[in-house]
Symmetry: C2
């Protein structure tokens, strides 16, 4: 059997940007972890699958698993605290002091178990995760993620300037050796769900020499890359000072092979991306992880998501814990809509607000593409799903399935309404 079954319920997904498909009391075939189509009833299922076990979700809502393209595991411990700062001050006063603690593997083990259990309980099935600069602690994070059942990329962070001494690599060669050790060790552990990702924290904390070394390693091991881009005006200015030869912020990564082209790359934010930077993002196939909560919390601004989408740029959503305080991608979906409304109102009247179906697409298929065929129930997609029981939400009013879906996401039913969860066909909850 393996990960093969028929799931019956109210199937909701967004096969294309802006189009929501809802199939009442329908069946999805999952064969060896892969979707093999949606059918109105069992008699319509192709014969080779018709005898599979049926998992009946009753009147539950079945959604693709949520994809979190940007989250910092060590910051989970202080989420919802220290919220009254802007980016660079917040790093110094809140974030870096916490990340220093992860030199202690005992602390890391406790903290990362809480982190991975938190993600396991929610609607997220895939995540792209920052650790800290510490190799051993970041391997512990990978152990925890592997155990959680989620599928993730995890990165050992690299920094060699503008960081506290405890979080600064001793030399580029040591950083390189540590990154190789991290990659090799993570491969030795034979994870099925957890892969390494190259992680320069961001240009202000990475010298050109360090980025050059990371670019070499990336190429050698054929790994993806994650980092931050054009988040805050002060940060963008600092990058222009530190990297005068770069044409724009993203170019500072691109010069070292850390900005898409050959390997998948995800950059968080892009609020202050210039037209030139947007063009490079598009040309290089870089994903933007849009993190609306964090962008409000740190007073960073609002990313031009409508512009990204019109241009054809790949966009997914990120919670950016701890800049964002919530690990819920449901919340990121509604935050995305809210800030797009303000963007339209105050910044660009030609950039229409994002609609619910569009934002849900970003949270699923949009970010899912970073992992391959993920985030939809179309034939050939990996079977990532959450099943929600919304019966706790009483209503005097008759509600359509579309209403129930929208309400479940807005009211964050991922906190208490998840009854089943699958990643690549394996049941997590």
């Amino acid at each position: 059997m393996g990960n093969s079954f028929i799931l019956k319920g109210n199937i909701c997904h967004t096969p294309r940007l802006g189009s929501l498909e809802i199939r009442e009391h329908a069946c999805i075939v999952c064969a060896e972890g892969t979707c093999r189509g949606i059918f109105d009833n069992i008699s319509q299922i192709p014969e080779q699958y018709r005898a599979l076990e049926v998992i009946d979700c009753g009147d539950g809502l079945v959604l693709p698993g949520m994809v979190d393209l940007h989250i910092h595991a060590p910051q989970y411990a202080f989420r919802g605290t220290g919220m009254d700062y802007e980016l660079l001050k917040w790093l110094d006063r809140v974030t870096f002091p916490e990340e220093i603690r992860y030199a202690d593997t005992g602390y890391a083990a406790r903290a990362y178990e809480i982190f991975s259990n938190g993600l396991k309980k929610g609607a997220t099935t895939r995540a792209v995760i920052f650790g800290t600069i510490h190799v051993r602690s970041t391997l512990i994070l990978m152990d925890c993620m592997e155990k959680s059942g989620l599928i993730s990329f995890v990165g050992k962070v690299n920094m060699d300037r503008h960081a506290p001494p405890e979080l600064t690599e001793k030399s580029v060669s040591e950083a390189e050796a540590d990154t190789r050790l991290f990659i090799e060790e993570s491969r030795k552990r034979g994870y099925r769900r957890t892969k390494p990702i190259i992680t320069p924290r961001f240009v202000p904390t990475c010298t050109g020499e360090l980025m050059e070394a990371l670019g070499r390693i990336r190429k050698e091991y054929d790994l993806p890359v994650q980092s931050h881009l054009s988040e805050n005006p002060g940060e963008v200015e600092l990058v222009a000072e530190l990297e005068p030869e770069a044409a724009f912020y993203g170019d500072a990564y691109d010069r070292y092979g850390l900005f898409g082209r050959e390997g998948n790359t995800v950059m968080a934010h892009g609020i202050y991306s210039t037209p030139e930077e947007m063009q490079r993002i598009l040309d290089n196939g870089v994903w933007i992880a849009h993190c609306p909560a964090s962008n409000m919390d740190l007073a960073s601004g609002i990313a031009p998501v409508r512009r990204f989408l019109e241009k054809g740029i790949r966009v997914g959503l990120g919670t950016d814990v701890g800049g964002g305080f919530s690990d819920s991608i449901f919340r990121a979906v509604t935050d995305t809509i809210q800030v797009s409304n303000l963007y339209w109102r105050y910044i660009d009247r030609n950039a229409g607000p994002l609609k619910f179906a569009e934002s849900l697409y970003l949270a699923t298929k949009g970010g899912g593409a970073f992992f391959g065929k993920v985030g939809s129930f179309e034939d050939g997609y990996e079977f990532d799903a959450v099943v929600l029981d919304d019966s706790s939400l009483q209503s005097a009013r008759p509600l359509t399935l579309g209403d129930r879906l929208e309400r479940a996401v807005y009211l964050e039913l991922d906190r208490e309404g998840i009854v089943m969860k699958f990643a690549a066909g394996e049941r997590i909850l």
Copy 2:
């Protein structure tokens, strides 16, 4: 005994705007529903109170009850659905069709029981509530609110233009008769916690004749007033067309005695209040109910809360369900901070972001003042409190009480962490 006891726990409140007072494992005396001071331990309590029953909240966080200055009870049924509209379209397509249902008292009874149970479970202890134009259904709403234990003002809505026929008063004299009936009947029912409030929906749906009648009734019965103000550019334009003699939006209310001066008045929003309107708000002692979620959801904008506060205008928070989808004032606290960050970033660099302690003040003592001495644990204040158990939120990191409070509000622990709740000394939960 009555409502007299000593409550022991971690006491958190904001006696002044911007100052958070936290007393670890301290005692509050509640005598006949009124706070009589905070004491470090029982031996310091004045002798006349020392023998009172002690309610020990252990390591729980004790906060003032939250005050919701603006919520629409009939819209609770569709909260989190129909979110892809701007104000005037949303009224026509989502809100009015639902409000029409409340002509049916059976429907109203079912819907308002769900509404009042929802508020009861949360952290809100006081609310200022819109019903519909229907007298009987709005009295049912008052019955439900009285039973909930919350303390509230409830209004029968008035509209006599620009609304569907089913929601339009047949004549001003009938509207006047209905409003009097509503007030008289609500008084006959002898509620202890639930009071009527004069409720013109907003200028676009109220003729001058109707507002004049409501002004007379207000004066005669000495009642407070609630309505909407300067929420959306299209609405503001419409008001200028409809009421050309009014100097500004708020003046259209003021001309009929519905804008503070003699009676308490709360106006939701004030996003587009001009300097003249702000001055009148200040001079007349009008409260602004700041509703950040609704203002994002309906693409209305961001209210200049920092400006209101600098000017000395009274401000509290509102959830504005169903423009806002959540009934949580904890969420309104953090939404307020987030939108103030964006206001600073994009609209006015001289209007500094609101800090956590400031926003919490608005949610408690700021809005509480509409009810009298409410929203603080100072001597003489009515004892409204919620007790939170945050032990479900694990952390590897040592947290201060301030961290725990901030985290509990950001992570909306009012959803599942409330272990006790009191309004004017009466235990609700």
